[in-house]
């Protein structure tokens, strides 16, 4: 029987524990959240600018260079144009979900950054399940896509959404397995601890296969070319956001590039050593690494032709999935064999394993039970 018998002492135990605000002040949390959101939006704008500029360079063009210094304000002009456009609502649309979908798509992108460390301990929430949080929150974007496809009341949007979800769900598996390899190596799920664990060597050196899998899977998951056939601008009509216009479409666009920022940040944090680096301040190192990853993504986009849907699925299930499993098992064995710290001579071993596995995977890779010549 609880009730009158409870003493004041017992009540004191029930009092809520002070939440773990950064700096133990609630307004720190508010200020840093706002700073982080602004940071992400600025990063997205920079990424869009870089994308347009660097893609242009790859095509021996110049790219936007008229609006503002070096054409930097071109995106702001484009954003203003989008904001001023009419937002068309289809007659058959499920209006509430139609409006919610872009927000559901974009909000997780911002939320993910709460666990990204910019310096030792400089992160909004040092969750001890950091990576799990990233994966879980990051997957919510896909629900936004499905909501968009469904609520548009248009079968082609729906098909586009399903195409995208099929790809994202397939690629989630190798990506998560590659991340698991990192977690096993670092012995922690917290992103901050993972970065600290890379003090000696970044994990890209220790685990080239994991990096490759995360990079390719990540590109597929955020719809980067050559895996961008969910919206394939040059052959299909945009897929799930066919019916969107104006500011809602802009949200999807932001979300797309926001996911690119997230993926670059994740790869930089998990495999390139995050904020670690000599000389420069840690946050600058992280930024530099993010931009390096971004550049490589743009480079692949400028180079590789789009894959077919069966090639896309086959790559996920027949090539990356087994490789990711093998990678995880090998990592686990190595960590079991050297529980304290991996000796440096596993690096050449791991590179050799990577080369052999990739060659083997390519040799055994078949489409359509081997009937279709690739």
């Amino acid at each position: 029987m609880v009730g009158p018998n409870i003493t004041v002492d017992a009540l004191r135990h029930l009092a809520p524990v002070a939440p773990d605000w950064p700096g133990n002040e609630w307004w720190h949390w508010l200020v840093f959240t706002v700073i982080l959101i602004v940071f992400i939006l600025v990063m997205v704008i920079i990424f869009i600018y870089l994308e347009r500029r660097i893609i242009a360079w790859f095509a021996a063009r110049i790219g936007p260079n008229r609006t503002g210094p070096f054409g930097f304000f071109q995106n702001i002009a484009a954003a203003l144009k989008l904001l001023l456009k009419e937002g068309v609502n289809p007659t058959n649309a499920d209006i509430l979900i139609f409006w919610l979908a872009p927000i559901v798509n974009f909000a997780p992108v911002i939320a993910v950054f709460a666990v990204v460390p910019f310096q030792n301990g400089a992160l909004l929430a040092d969750l001890n399940v950091g990576i799990l949080f990233v994966i879980a929150i990051g997957s919510i974007s896909t629900i936004g896509v499905f909501m968009a496809g469904w609520s548009s009341g248009n079968k082609y949007s729906m098909l586009g959404a399903m195409r995208m979800i099929a790809a994202v769900v397939s690629y989630e598996i190798p990506v998560v397995l590659a991340l698991a390899g990192v977690v096993v190596l670092a012995g922690s799920l917290s992103l901050n601890d993972i970065v600290i664990a890379q003090e000696r060597v970044p994990f890209i050196v220790l685990q080239p296969l994991g990096f490759l899998l995360l990079f390719v899977g990540g590109c597929a998951e955020i719809n980067r070319s050559p895996f961008d056939l969910m919206e394939a601008d040059s052959e299909l009509v945009a897929g799930f956001h066919t019916e969107y216009s104006g500011i809602k479409w802009a949200m999807f666009f932001l979300g797309e590039f926001g996911e690119m920022v997230v993926m670059s940040t994740l790869i930089a944090t998990l495999f390139l050593g995050g904020w670690q680096g000599p000389g420069l301040p840690p946050w600058l190192w992280l930024l530099i690494k993010i931009f390096i990853v971004d550049f490589i993504m743009i480079w692949t986009r400028a180079t590789l032709p789009r894959v077919r849907i069966d090639q896309l699925m086959a790559l996920a299930w027949k090539f990356m999935f087994p490789l990711a499993l093998v990678n995880l098992i090998i990592t686990a064995i190595q960590v079991l064999a050297w529980p304290d710290a991996l000796p440096l001579y596993v690096i050449p071993i791991n590179w050799a394993i990577t080369v052999v596995l990739v060659l083997l995977g390519s040799k055994l890779f078949k489409l359509g039970w081997g009937r279709v010549e690739v």
């Binding site: 021996a60 063009r61 180079t303 590789l304 990739v358 060659l359 390519s362």
Partner: protein
């Protein structure tokens, strides 16, 4: 063994794009930078030699667009005086057939291309607009003009 299947193809492609990244940009910023136009091109204008023209109107008959308008009168020495020679460049397709047809080598193409106007009527070139004394004739179908022109480099081979 097809090595293209083991990632070599991707690596090759990546080097190709990287080489393009480091190459000179092919784009010119038009109003500020202008490409030198080939002096053998068919521009949007015609150039007319008043001395050589006999007013035979072959050019007017050849023009598929019918935009050359010639009015002649009989002169003293059993010749034609060209009273009106007008070309409506708004309809001209720069085909160059009039130049090729002229039996007296009196008509030339020109290489001007910035000829946007505010009114249609301004597009009609009168005889005085086309006089060869004021305009540079293109070497199109005119080997005697071509002789005196310097060799021009192709754009794609341009170095700087």
């Amino acid at each position: 063994m097809k090595f293209e299947r083991y990632g070599i193809g991707i690596a090759k492609g990546m080097t190709v794009t990287m080489r393009n990244l480091l190459r000179r940009r092919i784009t010119t910023q038009y109003p500020e930078q202008k490409l030198t136009v080939s002096r053998r091109t068919r521009g949007n204008e015609l150039v007319w030699n008043k001395e050589k023209c006999t007013g035979c109107a072959t050019c007017a008959k050849t023009c598929p667009q019918g935009v050359i308008h010639i009015v002649t009168s009989v002169g003293e020495e059993n010749n034609y005086n060209v009273e009106v020679f007008e070309v409506d460049t708004g309809y001209c397709i720069s085909c160059g057939l009039c130049v090729e047809a002229c039996p007296y080598d009196a008509l030339f193409m020109a290489y001007a291309f910035e000829l946007a106007k505010y009114r249609r009527s301004e597009l009609v070139l009168s005889r005085d607009d086309m006089l060869i004394e004021n305009k540079q004739a293109s070497a199109y179908f005119r080997p005697e003009v071509d002789k005196d022109l310097p060799e021009q480099e192709l754009l794609i081979n341009r170095k700087e």
